[in-house]
Symmetry: C2
Subunit: 139 residues, 2 copies
C-alpha cells in the first residue's frame, strides 16, 4: 500500500480515499475480481462511490503498475475459423490479431501433475500482447 501511494505521488496523482479503498479491496479479494465485484465491495465501506470512479481508479492503478488486467481481450469475443491448436498475437492498441505458428508443446508437459488431479484442462492458449507494426512507431 505504501509503495502504491509512492507511485501515485511520483506521477503527481492524488492520493484519494477512493483510490486507497479500491486498491485495499482488490488486495483482499483472492479470486481476481471483476470491476463489478470490486464496486460492490468498495460500496460497503464507501457507500457514495460511483461505478465510474471504480472503473477510472482501476485504470489508474493498472497504469501505475499496482494491478494487472488478467484474462481480457477488449470486451468482445473474436471468432477463428482455425480450430487446430495455435496461438495468437493481440495488439493492445488496435486489437489486431495474428495467428502464430509457434510450437509450444511444452505447455502440456509444464502443467504439474499435482494440479491435474484438481483441475481438468480442456485447452490452453497463449496470447502475446504487444504492438502491431501500425501502432508501433517504427512502422
Amino acid at each position: 500500500m505504501k509503495i502504491a501511494e509512492e507511485k501515485l505521488r511520483q506521477r503527481h496523482l492524488k492520493i484519494t480515499p477512493q483510490r486507497l479503498e479500491v486498491l485495499r479491496t482488490v488486495l483482499q479479494m483472492t479470486d481476481h475480481p471483476s470491476a463489478d465485484q470490486i464496486y460492490r465491495m468498495v460500496k460497503i465501506r464507501h457507500p457514495t462511490v460511483s461505478v465510474a470512479t471504480v472503473y477510472k481508479t482501476l485504470e489508474t492503478l493498472v497504469e501505475v503498475g499496482e494491478l494487472k488486467v488478467a484474462l481480457v481481450t477488449q470486451g468482445r469475443a473474436r471468432y477463428d475459423p482455425r480450430v487446430d491448436r495455435h496461438h495468437h498475437f493481440l495488439c493492445s492498441q488496435c486489437g489486431y490479431v495474428e495467428d502464430l505458428e509457434i510450437k509450444l508443446d511444452c505447455l502440456e508437459t509444464c502443467f504439474p501433475q499435482a494440479l491435474q488431479d484438481r483441475l481438468t484442462i480442456q485447452r490452453s492458449e497463449v496470447i502475446f500482447h504487444g504492438l502491431c507494426p501500425k501502432c508501433d512507431g517504427k512502422h
Copy 2:
C-alpha cells in the same frame, strides 16, 4: 464448407442459408472478426438477418467445431493484484480463476526472431481453460 454441412446434418441441425452465410463470412475474413463485424458483413448479402441470429449461429458453429472462440474470457475484465509474471487457470463453466506457479520461460525464447522485427511483444500470458473441482463431476 461441405464438411461443416455434414457436421450439422449429423447432429440433426438444419442447414440454413444464414448458417452457411455466417460460416462463409468468417472463413473469408482473416482478422478474427468479432460478432459485430461478422453481422455487418453478413447483412450485405442477407439484409434481413438479425444480430441474434448471428450470435446464435456463431454459438452453433463453435459447438459443432467449425469455429473457435479466441481471446475471450466471459465478457468482463478481471483484476489481479499480482503484477509479476505468472499464468492462469480459468474455469470455463463458473469463471473461477487460479494463479499458476508455472515457470514458462520457453515462451519468450519460442517467439521467433523474424516476428520480433514486426511485432513488439509487451507481455505474454497463458490461459489454461478447463473445469474447476466444483464444476467437474469428480469434486
